[in-house]
């Protein structure tokens, strides 16, 4: 875990309301693993007060890491106006990364909206022949161009709610279709996105007895396990009633979480 002031290399809009920011930090970049996040201080003022957590969505040239964010509130509205030459205080890399140690298995990476961020990093380090990225958005204007983080369009399927690009419908339709025709062993699932989507992916995984890891989002204060503000209900197989998203997650096996309480 490193705390430092990092230079912004670029901060550009790559889809509607969606920004890709690169920050220079050889230290954080060399430690970062897919699924981990950084806590970013968006301004030095007392309002807004707290740092914001952002998944790391990739690295560049060994000394930069990138975050992908959608402007949704006060913090991200400040962030969108930052640019090259500005510095931001960053703390990271934090949290438990995805576990993708199993070789030879196909992985489905299931993304809802801006939840694609940690999965872009994961897709970038996986063997392209072994992973398929399924991404859902509201409309085509929101679609994140994956080549911006160095990925190819191959093995990418897109769904939009309004049908303006790819499949008309939700990303779990795509997953359903893929799993329905899958005949090459048991795939592993990795998912990040809105809660209803995660619940659907988890239910499909339980039904088919597939291994599935999800990256979960909550409000956070410290990001490092001190405040216990980011608790989520654990399943009965865990020894404690709550797990901390910042420390025990943000990546969890679906079997660690109490899905009814989420």
């Amino acid at each position: 875990m490193i705390e430092q002031e990092a230079d912004i290399v670029f901060n550009r809009m790559i889809a509607r309301n969606t920004f890709l920011m690169a920050l220079k930090s050889p230290e954080i970049t060399s430690l970062a693993r897919p699924g981990q996040f950084v806590m970013v201080r968006v301004s030095k003022s007392a309002d807004p007060l707290l740092r914001r957590p952002f998944s790391i969505c990739g690295t560049r040239g060994g000394d930069c890491f990138m975050i992908l964010y959608r402007v949704v509130g006060v913090g991200t509205a400040i962030l969108r106006n930052a640019g090259k030459g500005d510095r931001l205080s960053v703390l990271g890399p934090l949290g438990r990364p995805f576990d993708f140690s199993e070789k030879g298995k196909t992985s489905f990476l299931v993304a809802g909206g801006i939840g694609i961020a940690p999965l872009l990093f994961l897709a970038g380090v996986m063997d392209p022949g072994e992973c398929m990225l399924l991404a859902g958005y509201g409309t085509s204007a929101e679609v994140v161009p994956v080549e911006q983080v160095g990925l190819s369009q191959e093995n990418l399927l897109i769904a939009t709610d309004d049908g303006t690009l790819g499949h008309k419908g939700v990303v779990t339709d795509l997953l359903e279709g893929q799993l329905g025709k899958w005949r090459r062993g048991r795939p592993v699932l990795f998912a990040c996105g809105p809660l209803p989507m995660l619940k659907r992916v988890a239910a499909m995984s339980f039904e088919r007895e597939l291994e599935c890891q999800v990256s979960v989002e909550t409000a956070m204060a410290c990001g490092i396990g001190a405040c216990q503000g980011c608790a989520v209900r654990a399943s009965s197989r865990e020894t404690q009633p709550y797990l901390q998203v910042c420390r025990h997650g943000p990546v969890f096996s679906i079997r660690s979480l109490d899905w009814k309480a989420l």
Partner: protein, 308 residues
């Protein structure tokens, strides 16, 4: 003398601190997370997470929400309980070259005493801080702290069972904090820390539901600093006990306000989340300030407020 390092040593009763900057309970865990980025031996001390007799799971989420210049929390004193603390955390804390104060909590008067008794003989603990001020638990906590007599009863019970100095942490959610402070002083406390968080709430207007599952929470951060400062000012003048100032301190100038008002030391809480190095920066800032003012001993600043 101005080139020399000013002496930042302060005393809270019999406890000597290398400098007046402590980590506030509940914002620093047991220090181990922060140890990666902060040299803990440079701190005045650490007040560890509120400890209860048995483990407490804490409140359901959402537990926190950001508010203007602050945040609300309703963690609910989630902690591992006395036994695990003694076995798993204290040995590590003992190795740190810093003062460790244990914040304790009970459901009832007897239970406060039982936690204090359980910590008897435990090496590496400099003092107890009695939490009669947590707003986020159904029993105990603030229920005692809002009543001078109940605060005194808890204090007496802890003093009876403890073998260490006892500091009582007060809640600001009262009409007259001086009467609680005086009751605690009469009961024999060795020191007072204040303030704990202010009760508050926030509502999600789209969903029309409270933003915290607990409905209410405790407000912390710079938003509460003027309230905290005035209460410290009042209590310093109402009792003869050493007072530790807590509430929204973000930098050395904030800390100076509390020291000038008469606090012997300060605790830093929410600011640790924003910037893990806050306490070190405050210590450095106090040193710089003393040097610039030609002050060789920080005690010259404490209680130096000029009033007509």
């Amino acid at each position: 003398m101005t080139g020399d390092r000013p002496d930042l040593t302060v005393n809270i009763g019999s406890i000597e601190l290398n400098n007046p900057v402590l980590a506030a309970s509940g914002t620093f865990g047991y220090g181990e997370q922060y140890a990666e980025v902060v040299d803990l031996s440079r701190l005045g001390g650490i007040v560890v997470k509120g400890l209860s007799l048995r483990p407490r799971p804490g409140n359901p989420p959402p537990r926190i929400v950001e508010t203007p210049c602050g945040m609300l929390n309703a963690i609910g004193l989630a902690n591992m309980g006395l036994e695990e603390f003694l076995n798993e955390k204290l040995p590590w804390l003992r190795k740190l070259d810093t003062v460790v104060i244990v914040n304790i909590y009970g459901h009832n008067v007897e239970e406060y005493g039982m936690v204090a008794e359980g910590l008897r003989g435990a090496e590496g603990i400099s003092a107890l801080e009695v939490n009669v001020s947590c707003p986020n638990v159904e029993q105990g906590g603030m229920a005692f702290g809002t009543d001078p007599d109940a605060s005194a009863r808890v204090t007496e019970q802890v003093l009876k069972k403890a073998d260490k100095p006892v500091i009582v942490k007060l809640t600001p959610n009262v009409t007259d904090i001086r009467s609680v402070a005086q009751a605690v002083e009469r009961a024999g406390a060795h020191g007072i820390s204040l303030i704990n968080t202010l009760s508050g709430m926030a509502i999600d207007v789209e969903k029309r539901v409270p933003r915290l599952a607990n409905v209410s929470g405790g407000l912390s951060g710079p938003a509460i600093r003027p309230v905290a400062l005035y209460m410290v000012y009042q209590v310093v003048r109402a009792v003869n006990l050493p007072v530790i100032g807590v509430g929204g301190i973000m930098n050395y100038r904030d800390a100076l306000e509390f020291l000038i008002a008469g606090a012997r030391a300060v605790q830093v809480g929410t600011a640790n989340f924003v910037n893990p190095s806050t306490m070190l920066e405050i210590i450095e800032g106090l040193e710089r300030f003393c040097r610039a003012q030609g002050i060789i001993d920080i005690n010259e600043i404490i209680g130096s407020l000029k009033e007509d």
